[in-house]
């Protein structure tokens, strides 16, 4: 049996949740955790950065990390409501 294809919002929620759980996460680790192809991962990350849901930080050792922003936290809090809205109105 094949797994159900994740909806766009579900992917975003999963990516943001992974970042929240780790507080900060390296791009490569996030790619593995997200279960996305590198191309799709790149597109999702660019969307999340554009929306300011996440930001890219660089530490003293020049290592890159993704961290969740306030907007990203707001999205995760409202995700259930948004999902309910979509299901109830058949959108």
């Amino acid at each position: 049996m094949t797994a159900k294809k994740r909806e766009r919002l579900e992917v975003i929620k999963d990516v943001l949740n992974t970042i929240r759980e780790n507080r900060q996460i390296k791009p490569t680790r996030l790619l593995y955790a997200s279960n996305l192809s590198p191309q799709m991962f790149k597109e999702y990350i660019s969307e999340l950065l554009n929306k300011k849901f996440i930001k890219l930080e660089i530490d003293d050792k020049e290592k890159k990390f993704f961290v969740l922003t306030k907007r990203g936290q707001d999205f995760l809090q409202e995700y259930k409501l948004i999902e309910n809205f979509i299901e109830n109105f058949g959108l």
Partner: protein, 230 residues
């Protein structure tokens, strides 16, 4: 004085209050939905929001149209065209919010929801319908298009209700779409058989009001209820 006379004598006040209520409901839905659009960029919510943006515009234009008609002002055709175009677009957006997933395959947020490649077809059809009605001096193109729109929306929302029994609102959404269909059929009959009888129009306005109230109720309930399924 009979009730019907009172209603007829206060036509302008009634029309004004009715417009105010419907436009306020539409704006409330637009703002509530827009909050989710900004967070999620979900195309379905965008199209749903757009529907009520156009309903708000259409009902405002309907009131202006009444003034133009009663005082025989110039540019009546233009106002009527904008009114019909907005109303037809609102119906199209509402229907498209239910079926957009069948036509849009990109999972990422790339396009605007008001003028993208798919929606432009609706704009063209809405313009053709409103121009045809203005040219022929009737409303039958709009009525026919909206009867078909709500017929399909009723069928789709019925299947959504059957599929999503764990949620409470799809049943009400289906009822709202049925009411929408009834409103358009009655509009058609009032124009073609009852010669725009004002009391008939008042009844239609009442059913239409219920249609908007059901949808507002759903939007408020779902955007408020953060822990349970609405």
């Amino acid at each position: 004085m009979t009730m019907s006379l009172i209603l007829l004598e206060n036509k302008w006040i009634l029309e004004f209050l009715y417009t105010l209520i419907i436009v306020a409901i539409c704006l409330a839905i637009v703002f509530k939905a827009d909050r989710f659009v900004r967070l999620s960029s979900h195309q379905g919510i965008r199209y749903f929001r757009n529907a009520f943006l156009f309903y708000g515009l259409a009902f405002s234009m309907r009131y202006v149209l009444g003034i133009f008609y009663d005082f025989s002002l110039n540019h009546l055709g233009l106002i009527r065209g904008i009114f019909e175009y907005s109303l037809v677009m609102a119906g199209f957006f509402l229907l498209y919010s239910l079926i957009w997933k069948k036509f849009e395959f990109s999972k990422l947020d790339k396009n605007t929801s008001l003028f993208n490649g798919k929606v432009i077809i609706f704009h063209l059809i809405a313009i053709i319908i409103s121009v045809a009605d203005v040219l022929f001096g009737n409303y039958y193109f709009m009525f026919s298009s909206q009867i078909m729109t709500f017929f399909f929306a009723s069928i789709i929302s019925f299947f959504n209700y059957r599929k999503r029994k764990q949620y409470k609102f799809p049943k009400f959404y289906f009822i709202a779409m049925l009411l929408g269909l009834i409103v358009w059929i009655l509009n058609f009959l009032t124009a073609s058989v009852f010669n725009w009888n004002y009391l008939f129009l008042l009844d239609i306005g009442l059913i239409n009001g219920i249609f908007f109230l059901i949808l507002l109720y759903g939007v408020i309930k779902i955007t408020k209820n953060d822990s349970k399924k609405a």
